[in-house]
Each structure stands twice: as C-alpha cells, then as structure tokens.
Assembly symmetry: C2
Homo-oligomer: 358 residues x 2
C-alpha cells in the first residue's frame, strides 16, 4: 500500500501539505499544489491508513453493535438501519452476537476497546444480573472516559436508553385492541422475567388491562423463553391450567409463532377457538397462516437513530432520549372470542372463571 510519504514525494511537497490536501482540511493550499497532490494520490491508488490516523485521533472509524443474534430478524433490521446511517459517514459496523451471555458480551466489548471503536451500540435489552452489569459498567466507563460513545436501544441497568421504542405503550394499545374485539380473559406469554424489555411489555399488558377496567388473572401470566420454544411451552402450560382464556398476547413474535405452531399441532383453530397476538412485526409475521396480529416497531429507524445518537455523543453533545412509536397491526390471528373459552376439560366443560385467591 502506498503511504502519504510516497504521495508527497511524487507531488514534490511535504507530507504535511499532502495530508492537508487529501483530507481537504481548512488550511490554505495553492491550487497548483493541490492539483499535483490529487494527481499523485490517484496515480498511486492512495488509500489513507485509518490505523495511523486512529492512533493519533484516539478512535477508529468503526462502531460495534451488540446483539443477541444477528440471525434474529429483529436484530438484523436494527443492524441494517445502523449500517445505512454509519456508512455514508465513513463508519464501519462491527457485528457482535453475544447470545445474551455476559462472558461473550464482555469479550466483545474488550475487543472493541482494543480496536478503539468510536462507539458501541447495545441493540438488545439488558438483564437483571448485578454481577454482569457491574463488570460491564467498568468497561463502559473506560470507553466514555476515552471519548467513545455508548448507546443503548433498549432498557438496561443504568438509566434511560438514548433511543428506544415504546414497548409499554404498544402493548397497552394491543391489549385495548383485543378488548375491543370482545376479549376479557387474555393470557400473556411473558418472556424471561429477568429481561428488562420483557418487564416493560408485561407492564404494558397490566396497564392495558387496567385501563380497560378488566381484572387480571395472574394464573394467565406465564414466564417463558424468548423464542418459539417458549411459545409452545407456554401454550402447553395454559392448556394444562385451569384458568379460562380466549386470547393469548405474547411478549414477542417468536413466542407467538411458537404458540401458533403448537396450537395447530393440538388441533385448536386460530382465531376461532383462541386469538393470538405477537410483538415486533418480524417479516415472518405477515407470511404465516393465519397472519399474525402484532405490534410494528420501526426497527430500521431505531438503528439509524442509534447511529445519529452515536454521532451526537462523539461531538460532545448530550443526546436527549428518544422513544419511537409502536403501532398495532391486526391480521387474521385475532378475532372475536369464542362462546366457550379454553382450556376444554375432559368432560367438555370449560373451567369456571376465578382469581388465584379463590
């Protein structure tokens, strides 16, 4: 690779002048000199060394993004938005699939620090895990002290996220839509209790029910994994329980997709016997049959704004928290409640309505 020294020599100027020209810096350079340098750079296929530049500037033109798993469409969308904003600004995006594992997350952040990344964006939710959070806090403090940007796109252990989506509000409106269809006994497959985003969505579920004046039956709130297997297990649990329900709201789309699949396996028609709704609006939601009712999140925009927040932080500005809207999308998986709620008892009767205190 040719260096600026060679460009300077070919143009017959100092490296200082060559540097000023190729970086288009605000410093007077005669037109003739400028032209000679540009000609030399082009002739030598000069590509500046970002490593040398970064060594001086303390940062490299890259931002890392920590996701659970890049094959999860939720994160792929966010990363794409981030990339679309970063690349015109000359920043490259480093993908870090942590599987929500504290070790992996920490090892990625260390690698990012070592590369002197200009920023790190946490796309996914934090967990209620004091030990892991404390270790991460040290890393992040060091990055910030060094002038790097730290951006969160989901709720996490320390303060407000710089940019996020309206998880609670979206869930409130989804519950309102189900109540509007006539549902009163709505189950909730809640995801993992330790994940902050799941907590927000559960809070939205409770608030939605309260707002509609519907009492909550705690037996219908079941903690699950955050994937399809969680939805299948959740359906099994609800069906094995004795609390009646006519609809299932889920903390995210994979859970809902798993629920749909298990209901189909058990021969329970959706939405005739039970309505199902998800959250996120991943591409698959529109393609399954019946189409999944869900809450659409502006994920690509979330990524774009995440990079904008990174740039603001880098410029020393303070980023006011942004909350992006979440919109209910009704498809074929939701409808009016059936005359008899699930679960069906062996005798054919459905269990009586009743609270956990009964």
């Amino acid at each position: 690779m040719t260096s600026i020294t060679e460009v300077a020599r070919r143009a017959g100027v100092s490296t200082a002048t060559a540097s000023r020209v190729v970086n288009d810096v605000d410093h007077p350079v005669s037109e003739a000199t400028r032209a000679r340098v540009l000609e030399a750079a082009a002739a030598l296929d000069y590509v500046p060394n970002a490593l040398a530049r970064g060594l001086l500037k303390r940062h490299s033109p890259v931002v890392g993004v920590i996701v659970n798993d890049i094959t999860d469409p939720y994160f792929a969308e966010v990363v794409r938005g981030l990339e679309d904003a970063a690349s015109p600004a000359g920043f490259l995006v480093i993908i870090c699939s942590s599987e929500r594992d504290a070790e992996r997350e920490s090892s990625y952040v260390r690698l990012l620090r070592s590369l002197r990344a200009a920023g790190v964006v946490f796309a996914g939710s934090g967990r209620d895990d004091p030990a892991a959070n404390e270790a991460m806090a040290r890393h992040l403090a060091a990055m910030r002290a060094d002038g790097a940007a730290v951006v969160h796109l989901s709720p996490h252990a320390f303060g407000e996220p710089e940019v996020t989506v309206d998880n609670a509000g979206g869930m409130v409106r989804l519950v309102a839509a189900l109540v509007g269809l006539g549902h009163r006994r709505i189950a909730f497959l809640a995801g993992p209790a330790s994940l902050y985003v799941a907590q927000e969505r559960l809070a939205g579920f409770r608030a939605g029910l309260a707002g509609a004046g519907v009492a909550i039956d705690e037996r219908l709130v079941v903690a699950t994994a955050f994937g399809r297997e969680g939805g299948a297990a959740g359906v099994d649990a609800l069906l094995a329980g004795d609390a009646p329900f006519t609809a299932i709201a889920c903390a995210n789309d994979p859970i809902a997709l798993g629920a749909l699949q298990r209901l189909a396996e058990r021969g329970i028609p959706v939405p005739d016997a039970v309505s199902v709704a998800g959250f996120d609006d991943v591409p698959m939601a529109a393609l399954v049959a019946p189409g999944l009712s869900t809450v659409r999140l502006p994920l690509r925009d979330l990524g774009r704004r995440g990079f904008a927040a990174t740039e603001r932080l880098l410029a020393g500005e303070t980023a006011a928290p942004e909350v992006l809207p979440a919109e209910v999308v009704l498809r074929a998986s939701t409808g009016a409640p059936p005359p008899d709620p699930l679960p069906v008892r062996p005798g054919g009767a459905t269990p009586r309505t009743g609270g956990p205190s009964r």
Copy 2:
C-alpha cells in the same frame, strides 16, 4: 486508556519486556518479572491498542464480509458462522450490505482497505458485469499484494470460490425428487440471469432434467428477480403462458415463498394443483403452510469455513477449494402431479403439450 508505557513503568521494566509478557511472546522472561507485569496490567485495566499494533503488523484484526443484505436470512446465517469462527481467534467481523450495487461494494472495500482489514469475504454471488468486476479486481489485487486474504463463498468473476456450496448438484437432486414424484413438466423461476449463482442453479435444473431423460420446455424457464416479488411475477407469467406445468422449481426460497403466496391469492391449491420447491432452506421455509420443500444449505458452516480459509490465506498457505453438500428436504409443498396440469384455460381445458418451435 492506559498504554504499555504506563504498565511498564508501574512494573518497573522496559516497554519491550512489558510487551513480551502481555503478548505471551516466545522470549525468555523471568517469572518474577512476568508476574509484576501481569499485576500492573490488571491493576491498570490495560487493553492493548490494536491500532498501534496493526500499524506495525500491516493489518488490523478485523475481517469484512460483503453481503447483499444482512436482513436476508441467507446472509445472516453465513455471517453468524463467520463470526463464530472469527471471534475465538480474536477477529472482529465488519458487516457490509452492498445491495449488489457496484458503487456500494467498491466503497465498502475501500473503507476496509483503509482500515487495513486482514481479510474480506464475499458471501454473495458475483454478477456478470465487466466494468464493476474490473474495478473490483484492482482493489482485490492491492489487498492481496498487501498480504490480506480475499475469500469468495459463491461463484464470481475470477476463478473458483475458496469455499462454496453445491448449487448445481443440489438442484439436480431436487429435480430428481420432483421427477420421482411423477412430474414431467416442471417450470423454473430462475432468478436474474446475470447472477452467477442463478446460472449455476439453472444449469443444475437443466442437468437434472436431462439426467432423468425429460425434455425441457424453454417456455417454462422464466427469469425473475431474486426476491418474493420475483416469485409472484413468475407465477403470473407461467399462468398467462400456454405451456402446461405441474410443478415449479425456484432458484431460491424467497422466489418460492412469493410463488406460494401468489398461488394462494389466486386460489390455486398447493400441492394439489401444483407442486412448489425452493432452494436454501431459510428458517421461514419450515414455518409457512404448506411447508416448503427445498434444498438445505449448510450456511453457518459455509461462514465458519470461510473464516478458516481466511486464516489459511493469512498464514501464506493456499486454500484448496471446498464444496459443501446440499441436501434435498421434502415438505408439504410438493406431491404427486394433478391429473390436469396448469394453466387452466377459460374453457376449462389445459393447453396441449408442445415445444416453443410449434
């Protein structure tokens, strides 16, 4: 951030010694000295500066991966495999969604060169585009000359890919499976003719038919876009044509998914009226109804081996081309041919079999 100078000072040694210890280099260091350096590094939260190191070594510990679009599940899988292999080796993965645009691709590769990436992996197929290929060839020659690795995971303009999947063979076996079900009039939604991977799959389609002794009807081979919209348009074209068919093979899963959707919209039952098969086995293929018959590609493994090839190239070894197997997966979207092939004419009759020369 603390530098090695500070670590050395705290340990009371030279930076040379400190460097040898923290890098665990093969050079004798007394145990006592080693312990002091390690203690100092830990106390100061020392994270080596990969920029400074890279400046010396000519490369940074990153590899770029050029994909069409990271939100496409095909590429997300490959990238995940690449990442899983790269990260234990201390390499970070930079994601570059080029949208198969020569400008974007070139601008990403320039950024990668500027960062002195140790390697660039082209995950997607090359195009038959002489101008773009020539410009890219210059970039890649420069990278190789500088000792960086260049790896292709799909057919491209210059020579064999270092690692790839058996596109033609997989398609041959898929066609054989359709013929085994009784199909003789098989349509092919071929993707874009300029994309090398589409060319390979089309070649496999022809070879599969020839191998089964079935004559090809060129009217049934239709060029399409590589996404769902291509599948929908392809179905419309076949239905508007006058060549009978009982099955539709597609150059990839998105095309097949689009075909399925359009057939459903037009009230044509699958597989009763027509069988449909895809290629890739993206996660969605198993979840749609009916489940999509397709060809499974070991995409994660492709990514992993792509990184292994990168490491070999970096070590100065020459990577012998690898071709990974492709396996037919039959689901519910394929079955026996119907008594009357599509398309149905207004009068209810199907057009007669006949070649384009008629």
